[in-house]
Symmetry: C2
DNA sequence: ACCTGAACACCGTTCAAGT
DNA sequence: ACCTGAACACCGTTCAAGT
């Protein structure tokens, strides 16, 4: 029925290289990076690994666990040593945001997996712990520090998710020979959307890195300006499910 | 006379009610709300509509267009008349964020479609135009106003996306009989994650509405505090792809 | 212990054909 | 104009069987 499904025996007596979880995940990430997320099927993955597709199920329970592996792999690329503890706390957080964004932007095709799913491995929580330390060190209450890391994480992941989504959309539109602003302008008539047209006329394309920096700085500034306030009124709703 | 593609004949003659784009999208939204996004297949949709699944393709080109229809439908629920123009601009933006969040939270199962895809219908852009007007009216430069609406939109959609994701994850965990905090605590040993444990011990569960409010207020405060600054250094990178 | 291959129950989409 | 039904080329996953 439910026998001890332990994976023991990691001794390397067997010269058999065989299939490993790591090799599978690495191959999966390569497929996603090079051919896109929709190209990642168990069958295709099996053919890349030169193995019967079903062999994968011996090492990984299902596709969702495979995607978790992708998240783990990319989160593992975050290099916390890039932090500079001599900087003011708010600057360290802005820096952390850029580091986080950079590793995600290095795998644009994987972003919709990385950004959407919740973290659920120990490895993925190391950066969270690190960030929590900065917030607490800056004098945030535990309650506010927790809120801050949640808000931070949602901001960064959300921003990057939509950033790559927009990039892909623009590429697709470019393939069809129409500039993105053009297609927007023909969708939005001036009479009904005066403000949008006003802005589109005077601005042109935007640098998304700058926009990200602008946004994260506004958020961090705002959090440091408002999170030290009295939080009594919040503890009322604190115990909801 | 004219051959407009709009077949209005909804009256007598053909007592046949027939299939309409609207009815299809309404049924699709109902499926998603009640059975979840993964239950939305063309075949299932056809069976709900008591029609051959392939009949749908006569009215809607493909599934992706069907999902666009869902977005349009939900965005159409946004009620701009809830705004109060007598409030200060920053408060109106916070209010707008809550309105936006509320319509998305009314369709939690559809959020991963609504929040992830870019807007691409005229109807969906009406709230954007409205918001742009508020930012411009508050004295933001066109450049900064555009950045502000982008950042605003990404914040709200990202936040709600992860909020519902977390809710679903907690429900799933609850079904397995383990409290969410418990499972986190056993994943994160105290020695390696002292800060996380410190916070989890003293905080407990969080009210997500409060967290959202805290976050959007921090962001808006920050934007109003920093977006009036000189923006010369930004125009340098303005013309990237 | 590790891998195979057939099979099951699904998908989205195309297309010739019906009314 | 609107709908049908068979068919195509895929999925993820299970399971008995091979080595």
């Amino acid at each position: 029925m439910t026998p001890p499904r332990k994976m023991v025996s990691e001794e390397r007596g067997k010269s058999r290289p065989g299939l490993t979880r790591e090799a599978i995940i690495a191959a999966a990430l390569e497929i996603v990076d090079e051919e896109g997320l929709e190209a990642l099927s168990m069958r295709h993955l099996g053919s890349v690994l030169k193995v019967d597709p079903m062999a994968i199920y011996y090492h990984i329970p299902n596709k969702s666990a495979l995607l978790d592996g992708l998240i783990e792999a990319v989160m593992g690329e975050i290099d916390l040593s890039l932090d500079d503890p001599s900087l003011p706390a708010s600057e360290r957080i802005v820096l952390a945001a850029h580091i986080y964004r950079d590793v995600m932007m290095a795998h644009p095709q994987a972003v919709q997996v990385i950004a959407i799913n919740n973290l659920n491995t120990r490895e993925s929580f190391r950066p969270v712990e690190y960030l929590m330390d900065i917030f607490l060190g800056a004098g945030f209450s535990p309650h506010r520090a927790l809120a801050a890391v949640n808000i931070f994480g949602r901001f960064v992941r959300g921003f990057v998710l939509f950033e790559v989504h927009q990039i892909f959309a623009e590429e697709a539109a470019a393939c069809h020979g129409c500039a993105p602003t053009e297609s927007l302008q023909q969708l939005l008539p001036v009479e009904e959307f005066p403000r949008m047209n006003e802005v589109m006329a005077s601005v042109g394309a935007l640098g998304t890195v700058d926009e990200f920096d602008l946004g994260i700085r506004a958020l961090v500034d705002g959090m440091f300006a408002t999170f030290y306030e009295d939080e009594d009124q919040m503890s009322v709703n604190e115990d909801q499910t």
